[in-house]
Symmetry: C2
Subunit: 77 residues, 2 copies
Amino acid sequence: MKVRVHVSLKPGVLDPQGRAVHHALEGLGFSGIEDVRVGRLIELDVADGTSDEALDEMCRKLLANTVIENYRIEKAA
Amino acid sequence: MKVRVHVSLKPGVLDPQGRAVHHALEGLGFSGIEDVRVGRLIELDVADGTSDEALDEMCRKLLANTVIENYRIEKAA
């Protein structure tokens, strides 16, 4: 079973990487960009019987830092 | 306009970060994990009139390394 975990910084948390990308895009001549945030996309290939609870636990224990990051679990077909 | 860019390593490209996460998950006692790949999720807030071509160009020029990475542009509402 393919599972995608989207990890992004919580609103209000400073994102220096996003700011650097924003600045670089403007330097390349792209205009109209208001904000850039950079997060992680983790693609897991897990056994079919893996429970939602186990996936959630993986996120809380390792994949995301829940103090500053939000995560979203998306199951692919 | 909110745009999400999903950047992931092409199949066959070695992913040491994914391997480290895989190993760490097993170390935490999670079983049945077959593969882990780690990519980036870039959330852009751009002007409404931004063309698909401009978004594609941003990805090719800066956001993704097209030699080793694939990208997918997803427009949110």
